[in-house]
């Protein structure tokens, strides 16, 4: 059983949703990403998404764009992100780690090499926001060989055709985009989510559904947890970490958000 599968089964038995926390590798502490990951895991997050910065991301809002630019300026590269995962595992981080980014850095690394290196370092899955299943045949095959789950996105615009297309590619969980748009903090993040999640569950049974984009407050997490298998918080964490540079504050925020996942 994969680490992600085990994670969602354990949560189910505890009647909790997953708290998925996103941070950009190397921001704000280049070379000490493991400390951030350890803090997040120890504070109760169930899954960590670790962002591989890209110069020209299409799906990211201003907060994560700016974070990516800072990370790139600090010298973060795909190999250094894979190192961060390895060091975090050595430091005792045991929760699933999902690498999240854009396709070009993976393509330039070499897709087979990247899948193997990421899996060997202890990563569990990838989310590549501009790689839809239409272009993902080879990546899916390379990930299967390496033992990495491939997480794909579905959105409010997704039709039956798209759900059918994503189904055979989906692994780990489905990343359900809460609204049309880019990442960031929004007040009305959870409107219409319930219906979308249940449509996805009907079409792609047996794969957990986590909801992201715009989720920033415990109330959002609570609302999402009532209808989905997990809630993803990114921009708020990234922004707060950038402003405070304080791991204690980070731990407190994560713990508060985690409390909201208990049904």
């Amino acid at each position: 059983m994969s680490r992600l599968q085990a994670c969602f089964e354990a949560l189910k038995s505890r009647n909790e949703a997953a708290l998925v926390v996103f941070v950009t590798a190397g921001d704000p502490f280049p070379g000490e990403t493991w400390k951030v990951l350890k803090t997040i895991a120890d504070a109760g997050a169930d899954v960590i998404e670790l962002g591989i910065p890209f110069s020209d991301p299409l799906a990211d809002g201003p907060v994560i764009q700016a974070s990516s630019m800072r990370a790139l300026e600090a010298g973060v590269t795909p190999p250094s992100v894979i190192d961060d995962v390895r060091i975090a595992r050595e430091a005792g981080v045991t929760v699933p780690i999902v690498l999240m980014g854009s396709w070009n850095p993976v393509m330039q690394f070499g897709m087979t090499e990247f899948a193997n290196a990421a899996a060997a370092a202890g990563a569990d899955a990838t989310i590549l926001t501009d790689l839809s299943p239409d272009e993902a045949d080879e990546w899916k095959a390379a990930s299967n060989v390496a033992g990495l789950d491939t997480i794909f996105l579905l959105a409010p615009t997704s039709t039956q055709v798209r759900m059918d297309k994503v189904k055979p590619f989906a692994g780990g969980f489905i990343y359900c985009v809460s609204r049309t748009g880019i990442t960031g903090m929004h007040d009305n993040a959870t409107i219409g989510v319930s219906e979308l999640v249940s449509t996805i569950r009907t079409n792609i049974p047996g794969v957990p559904v986590c909801v992201g984009f715009g989720i920033s407050q415990p109330d959002h997490v609570r609302a999402v947890s009532a209808v989905a298998d997990g809630a993803v918080v990114g921009s708020r964490i990234v922004q707060q970490l950038h402003e405070t540079r304080d791991l204690d504050v980070l731990a407190e925020t994560v713990a508060t958000l985690k409390a909201a996942t208990k049904r």
Partner: protein, 407 residues
């Protein structure tokens, strides 16, 4: 002569998923895929719909001023002493460049799709002006993203867009040029996809844009081919066009691709020079990767971060290129050269003084290559240069580079 339907002699590229050999495709957030599917479907219907084609042709004729003339450049020909030089005068299109051929086609599609809001990216401002123009004519809300750096370089076009009723949004992220304006437009589209159509201005982006923009622009090559046969009794030996994203070049090349005797030469911007780090010679010096939704040649670092492009010409200042150009290069069907800023500035003055036509800085790159090429050819051979746009918008920038006005 301007039917969108391609005859059997034309290449069947791209395939159904938008691939030109290994290039092209569709690399976008999932949210956009249904909109691209719809656009593909509507475009496939439109390109074989006689009513759509008739309306497109009518606007090109009545509003844009097509067919554009083919001008024999007698003075350039005499001075260079080689091949006979002809100019395909896209600078005489309404709004002053070839860009409007595409925006007319796409606004008609947007109307079919019932989307009331239009967004666009622009570098030199020509595509932004062409988009603002058709939005004014056809009654659409228009928002143009433009890099803050380009807003400074192309102030005249910013004001033109505003006069036409468009909102111009300066983009402060990244390198503040065309690449970042395109990112911002795509992010807007992801957010507002339900009521918004994105008019991409070049043969770049996710499928179906590269093929669709090419088809709307291929009126340039179809007219040129017929005009050359009428004037000279045969096909040209060389067709020459500048390449940023590559829409004027692709529109010119496409109808000649299966005419194997015709050399197709694209000219990229070498900025400070090919040997420097500051250039925009994507096909000459880049390597394949994914940017703005398609796989193509890119300027990038070892880790796949997109590099900053540099050119005196805002319209060529782009680190990617249309995927069909990448395919034509790899198949050896088209050649790509690069000329630097200084050569382009020299060529701009040379064409202005010899022929009395002020070319855009983008177009001037093609003329810089022409100066090298024509003397190596014989007087019974012919070259057509795609005169992609007029240079009025560049007067201020050129004056600055040349040290002001001489009075």
């Amino acid at each position: 002569m301007s039917s969108l339907i391609q005859g059997p002699s034309f290449s069947s590229e791209p395939d159904a998923r938008g691939h030109f050999g290994p290039f092209g495709g569709r690399f976008v957030p999932e949210t956009l895929v249904p909109a691209l599917d719809e656009l593909s479907r509507r475009y496939e219907e439109a390109r074989t719909d006689p009513e759509f084609i008739a309306e497109f042709d009518r606007h090109l004729q009545e509003y844009v001023g097509r067919p554009t003339p083919l001008t024999f450049a007698e003075n350039l020909t005499n001075e260079l002493g080689g091949a006979k030089i002809y100019l395909k005068r896209e600078d005489l299109c309404h709004t002053g460049a070839h860009k409007i051929n595409n925006t007319i086609g796409q606004i008609l599609l947007a109307r079919k799709m019932g989307k009331p809001r239009i967004i666009a990216e622009t570098g030199a401002g020509q595509h932004g002006v062409a988009t603002a123009t058709v939005c004014a004519k056809f009654g659409f809300q228009c928002c143009v993203y433009m890099g803050a750096e380009d807003v400074k370089r192309q102030r005249l076009n910013v004001f033109r867009m505003q006069l036409l009723g468009a909102e111009v949004r300066p983009v402060e992220s990244g390198t503040k040029t065309l690449k970042d304006a395109t990112n911002e437009a795509l992010r807007d589209w992801v957010t507002n996809v339900a009521d918004t159509h994105y008019i991409i201005g070049s043969v770049v982006g996710p499928h179906p844009y590269p093929a669709m923009v090419r088809d709307f622009q291929s009126v340039i090559g179809r007219e040129t081919r017929a005009q050359m046969i009428e004037r000279t009794g045969r096909l040209p030996d060389v067709v020459l066009a500048c390449v940023g994203g590559g829409s004027n070049a692709m529109g010119m090349f496409h109808p000649f691709v299966s005419d194997e005797s015709v050399r197709l030469i694209g000219v990229e911007a070498a900025g400070d020079g090919i040997g420097t780090a500051r250039h925009a010679a994507t096909l000459s010096l880049g390597r394949p990767g994914v940017l703005h939704g398609s796989l193509t040649y890119l300027l990038q670092d070892a880790h796949g971060q997109i590099a900053e492009a540099h050119s005196v010409s805002a319209g060529l200042d782009y680190p990617g290129v249309g995927p069909e150009h990448a395919s034509l290069k790899d198949r050896g069907r088209a050649e790509y050269a690069a000329v630097d800023d200084q050569e382009a500035l020299d060529a701009l003055q040379w064409v202005s003084r010899r022929e009395g036509i002020l070319p855009a800085l983008e177009t001037a790159h093609a003329f810089a290559e022409l100066r090298k090429l024509a003397p190596t050819m014989s007087p019974d051979q012919t070259i057509v240069v795609c005169f992609s746009g007029r240079g009025d918008k560049d007067v201020e920038a050129v004056a600055e580079r040349l040290g002001g006005m001489h009075v």
